[in-house]
């Protein structure tokens, strides 16, 4: 089961969970993903080994997709 989470004031919130073979859960996850992008969040996937990647589409084969807020110089 893959998860889409958003880092927020609660620590993080699970927005959607999906299984690649479950069309309904995938559709719900894609909708949640797009809604979060429209709110201004940035989607990240940890690639391990000190790597992370910014993704613009929900990567269905990933175990964990993290939505973060933009960063800015202080």
């Amino acid at each position: 089961m893959s998860r889409l989470i958003r880092m927020d004031h609660t620590g993080h919130t699970t927005l959607a969970e999906w299984a690649a073979g479950d069309a309904a859960s995938v559709e719900a996850a894609v909708a949640a993903f797009r809604e979060e992008l429209e709110r201004g969040s940035i989607a990240m996937v940890s690639r391990g080994a000190g790597h992370a990647e910014h993704v613009r589409e929900l990567p269905l084969d990933e175990e964990l997709v993290i939505m973060r807020r933009p960063i800015a110089g202080g």
Binding site: I5, G50, A52, E53
Partner: protein, 222 residues
């Protein structure tokens, strides 16, 4: 409750060219992309600026004493200025690693769990002791805090002021935001962030809280 998916621990940052750039770069489109050469140049310029602030006050102090020993108090004031200006700059650099207001225990615990999944055992220990997450990079060694990061190179340290937007995030999430951005695009991260200070490590070290000095010292030993 389902177990959290395990995320592989961190190793040195890879080739930034292989990753897409940081999306936030669009908000600072006028800035040239930070590179090792540009950083070195900015560091030297920072040192030059500090010298330009200090030397006139020292010259004034010498001139006042040469004119009349009665002007010694004025000379002392000038010397105090020459001392305090570089110290204020170093303090500004140290402020980027200062812990921010904590959220409630529950959210802090959850956020710390996610951050813990993103980093390896040694980094978790360093974070627990110092509040900073060490992250090796191509530009140097990074120490990532809640509202800024230190880039430690062989000759100097760069203090970057940068944070996740919004003020309601738990401290672990604030660090995770910066860590993920740094891992996405190291040079882009240094471009988006604001440089608060650049100078010799010893200048910053004495302005850091005691518990964070160990993290800086560990970078020195690499």
């Amino acid at each position: 409750m389902a177990a959290e998916p395990a995320i592989p621990a961190a190793l040195p940052l890879g080739d930034g060219a292989a990753s897409p750039g940081l999306p936030e770069l669009a908000t600072v489109a006028w800035r040239p992309r930070a590179t090792a050469v540009r950083l070195e140049r900015r560091g030297r310029l920072w040192t030059l600026t500090t010298v330009a602030h200090v030397v006139p006050f020292v010259l004034v102090a010498i001139a006042m004493l040469a004119l009349s020993p009665l002007a010694a108090p004025v000379a002392l004031v000038a010397l105090a200025h020459a001392w305090i200006i570089p110290e204020l700059y170093a303090q500004r650099g140290a402020n980027v690693t200062r812990p921010r207001r904590r959220a409630a225990d529950g959210p802090e615990r959850v956020a710390l769990g996610l951050l813990g999944d993103l980093i390896d055992h040694d980094a978790r220990e360093t974070h627990a002791r110092t509040g900073l997450v060490p992250e090796p990079g191509r530009l140097g060694s990074w120490l990532v805090g809640e509202a800024g990061a230190l880039l430690v190179t062989r000759r100097r340290v760069y203090c970057w002021c940068v944070k996740a937007t919004g003020h309601d995030l738990p401290s672990g999430d604030r660090v995770a935001h910066l860590l993920l951005a740094l891992r996405t695009d190291e040079e882009g991260f240094a471009t988006v962030a604001n440089l608060a200070f650049s100078g010799a490590r010893w200048r910053l070290r004495r302005r850091l809280p005691a518990r964070q000095r160990a993290a800086l010292d560990a970078c020195r030993e690499e």
